[in-house]
């Protein structure tokens, strides 16, 4: 508007010119916005598509927006896909894959993970033991030898009689 006022002062017809330029500027501005939108849409479409293809569901989501809670981020995790596994004394014994301890979306439905899962070393491949449901961590040697393991005391609640 300051520019228009200068022009207005400079020429008697400046008001008209200023108005005209204002209109032109407005049209240009609108066009620019539209152009930007179109351009933005055109250039961002492949990016959006690519994002859809390569992006994984955020931690803690089922991929369809239903929250299943965040997978905890451990300060002891060397990689985002690994979660440190601890024994009954709370000592880190290896790592489990985050997608093996979190219900996963399969064909649009959440399915649970296996009850017994491998515990691996830092390379994410070498099996150092297993997390066994109702037991906890069992080393690979004990799994192999079939050594006796102590089970976790599990309580059940809420079974009123009919």
């Amino acid at each position: 508007m300051t520019n228009y006022r200068v022009r207005d002062n400079a020429r008697p017809s400046g008001r008209v010119v200023g108005f005209g330029m204002g209109v032109v500027a407005t049209v240009l501005a609108v066009a620019a916005v539209i152009g930007l939108s179109v351009t933005g849409g055109a250039t961002s479409s492949p990016v959006s598509d690519a994002t859809e293809v390569v992006s994984l569901p955020a931690k803690g989501t089922a991929g369809d927006g239903r929250s299943i809670g965040p997978i905890p981020d451990s300060p002891d995790a060397p990689r985002p896909d690994l979660v440190p596994a601890v024994d009954r004394a709370a000592q880190i014994v290896g790592y489990v894959r985050s997608d093996e301890i979190e219900p996963q979306l399969v064909d649009g439905e959440l399915v649970d993970t296996p009850e017994n899962i491998d515990v691996v070393g830092l390379d994410g491949r070498t099996v150092v033991g297993q997390m066994i449901a109702g037991v906890g961590f069992v080393s690979a040697e004990d799994v192999k030898s079939g050594a006796p393991t102590s089970t976790i005391d599990t309580k059940a609640f809420g079974q009123p009689e009919e």
Partner: protein, 162 residues
């Protein structure tokens, strides 16, 4: 950021921190996700229910999870389902490290809720942060009958320090 806006942001952050501090449960308390609505489902017997779930870290470092059958429309009114329709396993975390999970147990009588509890993590001296993930099953038919179909939901408790 302008100084005034920065101050406002800082004040808001301080207020937020104060609110969090005020709302955070004291050490030694029980922390619960609350009863969370998951989905309305239709059982194979034609019964419509709301599937609701809760994850708790109870005194002391006790991982608990509950599956609730409720009348459709939310989690307010309980409704019984036959034996074998509700299943739960819980997973434990200490300092965001994975401690393991219980076996999946099922209700053996008609009930409107079923829960499982176990101390899955060791509790070494000092302050440790604990958390529970409840994995709840809502079977569309008795779980002991093969391939009746089911829904699985994961629910996390808040963190609790002991």
């Amino acid at each position: 950021m302008p100084a005034s806006r920065y101050r406002k942001a800082a004040a808001a952050a301080a207020l937020g921190s104060a609110s969090v501090a005020l709302l955070a449960p004291p050490a030694g308390a029980t922390a619960t996700s609350g009863v969370v609505f998951k989905e309305e489902i239709v059982l194979n017997n034609g019964q419509h229910i709301s599937a609701c779930a809760e994850a708790i870290i109870a005194d002391i470092a006790d991982n608990r999870g509950y599956a609730y059958a409720k009348q459709p429309g939310g989690c307010a009114t309980a409704v019984n389902v036959p034996a074998g329709y509700l299943g739960v396993n819980v997973r434990g975390y200490i300092n965001n490290n994975y401690c393991g999970q219980t076996n999946t147990l099922y209700n053996s009588n008609s009930t409107n809720f079923f829960g499982v509890g176990a101390q899955l993590c060791g509790n070494p001296s000092g302050n440790q942060s604990f958390r529970t993930q409840a994995v709840t099953y809502f079977y569309k038919g008795p779980s002991y009958q093969y391939n009746q179909g089911y829904k699985v939901y994961g629910t996390y408790s808040p963190y609790q320090t002991y």
